[in-house]
């Protein structure tokens, strides 16, 4: 097997991991909300919110003699526009750095490969179909639909693909006790199509998040204080096997569940956030490198 083929095989097997890094996170939108998932809260009509995160995924647990070590740093940038009070439009344009290190079976030497570039552009529309506001909270439900376009750098395949993929799903948000508690849930199914003889398996991604405001413990009588939240999330992905030249790749697809503690500081203008996704279930098909963690830091800003 040539070196290029070895890397390619490694990358294909890692597709389920990189999906987490490159495309799930960006659809998060605004407000005090989960760090690794979506939220159904609104964006003002005509207003913009920009969100950026740095996500470092490390995967080193390789069941094969290749002893693969993978590091991916993804920077998903999201621009959200409030087209109407109910319709929010998202444009997601990630930038990705990738490093893979493995042992060459013919020489026994460690070799590595680095790539970086622009990931595929994803466009999403989210429409709020149910909103019930109270003086002390809100409850919202919003279906969403999106399309991934093959605009990324080819060197980053299969994080980028030549296919046009669709996604359908929904997000919901409930807050109560004047922002003390927030629960968010979402479920998205992604239909991945074939291009250049490669087809990534369809996948189902989900997230359940609970945010608890620890500061201020009691709201002041006047004004808008900054909020500090502790965030607990459970998120994961079920992925079907990929196909190459119509043939199923056995070392692909599977099921991953992460538990993700995090912390979030919300002000009027900014949100700063950090989280670590720790895998608790990794039921991966065939021989795939298992994830050690995904570390996330990011911010959101209300644009004028």
């Amino acid at each position: 097997m040539s070196m290029n083929e070895m890397f390619k095989k490694c990358f294909v097997a890692l597709s389920i991991l990189v999906l987490f890094v490159s495309s799930i996170v960006p659809t998060n939108s605004v407000l005090a909300a989960p760090i690794n998932s979506n939220v159904a809260l609104p964006v003002r009509k005509g207003g913009f919110v920009f969100r950026s995160q740095v996500k470092w995924l490390r995967a080193t647990d390789d069941p094969t003699s290749l002893n693969r070590e993978v590091n991916v740093v993804a920077i998903p940038n999201v621009l959200v526009y409030g087209a109407t009070p109910d319709l929010a439009l998202f444009a997601i344009f990630p930038y990705i750095f990738r490093n893979v290190e493995l042992t060459d079976p013919s020489t026994g030497k460690r070799i590595d490969k680095n790539d970086n570039g622009i990931g595929d552009l994803t466009l999403i529309a989210r429409y709020t179909v149910y909103a019930r506001d109270y003086p002390s909270g809100t409850a919202r439900l919003a279906p969403l639909a999106g399309i991934k376009l093959p605009t990324g750098d080819d060197e980053l395949e299969p994080i980028t693909t030549d296919s046009v993929n669709l996604q359908l799903g929904g997000v919901s948000t409930v807050t109560w006790d004047f922002g003390r508690h927030e629960v968010d849930a979402d479920l998205i199914y992604r239909i991945n199509t074939e291009a250049e003889n490669f087809e990534m398996g369809d996948d189902l991604v989900y997230d359940l998040a609970y945010e608890f405001r620890v500061y201020p413990w009691t709201l002041p009588d006047v004004g808008v204080p900054n909020f500090l939240y502790l965030v607990a999330e459970a998120n994961g992905i079920f992925s079907q096997k990929d196909k190459l030249h119509g043939k199923t790749i056995d070392d692909s697809g599977g099921n991953i569940l992460f538990l993700s503690p995090g912390i979030q500081l919300a002000t009027k203008r900014f949100i700063l956030e950090a989280s670590i996704q720790l895998p608790v279930i990794q039921d991966l098909n065939g021989n795939q490198v298992e994830t050690d963690f995904v570390l996330t830091g990011g911010f959101r800003v209300n644009l004028p």
Partner: protein, 184 residues
């Protein structure tokens, strides 16, 4: 020549001191916004309100869910514009409480004369009603309204009224329900 100049200056200074232009006397506007429970969402609400020409400043209170609105100039207070701004920010407008100063007049509506507050320094008129008891969802007695009429009878008197407002169909002034008042 110098005497003439001093006289002219004196006239202008006296005019400025004693004949100040009258500004609209809607002193406080407090708007309830339902669903406003985090700092990041407050930004959009305040921006939307401040984009209205008649709003000079909007500042929120997360504990009460109330946005305190300072008005600009003499423009009338348009309740529907405020409500629309809140809806466009993705939240639900609630009750609006104001404190307005003016004089009590009569406003003819469907052949009947109704007590009304003509706001000082603007064309704004509010039809005066008795205050609704929001806790019990029923109207209080006419007592408060009668007190206003009694306190202002016998000539022009400046009065400051605090209460909730709500809009009426086009052509009919908005209503101001009297919670409390003070005659100067």
């Amino acid at each position: 020549m110098l005497k003439k100049l001093i006289s002219v200056l004196g006239f202008f200074i006296t005019t400025l001191i004693f004949f100040q232009p009258s500004f609209a006397e809607i002193n406080n506007v407090e708007m309830q916004v339902d669903g406003m429970t985090c700092p990041f969402c407050v930004y959009g609400i305040e921006k939307k309100l401040e984009a209205l020409g008649e709003v000079k400043d909007a500042s929120s209170n997360l504990k009460t869910g109330i946005v305190d609105i300072k008005l600009e100039g003499n423009g009338p207070l348009d309740i529907e514009r405020l409500n629309e701004a809140i809806r466009e920010s993705g939240f639900t407008p609630g009750k609006i409480k104001i404190k307005a100063t003016g004089e009590v007049t009569k406003y003819k509506l469907e052949g009947k004369e109704n007590p009304a507050l003509k706001v000082t320094g603007s064309d704004q008129v509010f039809l005066l009603t008795s205050a609704p008891n929001h806790d019990k969802e029923e109207f209080l007695s006419e007592k408060k309204l009668n007190e206003v009429e009694k306190a202002t009878e016998g000539g022009k008197k400046e009065i400051t009224i605090t209460g909730y407002i709500h809009s009426h169909p086009e052509g009919v002034p908005p209503a101001l329900s009297v919670e409390s008042f003070e005659v100067k």
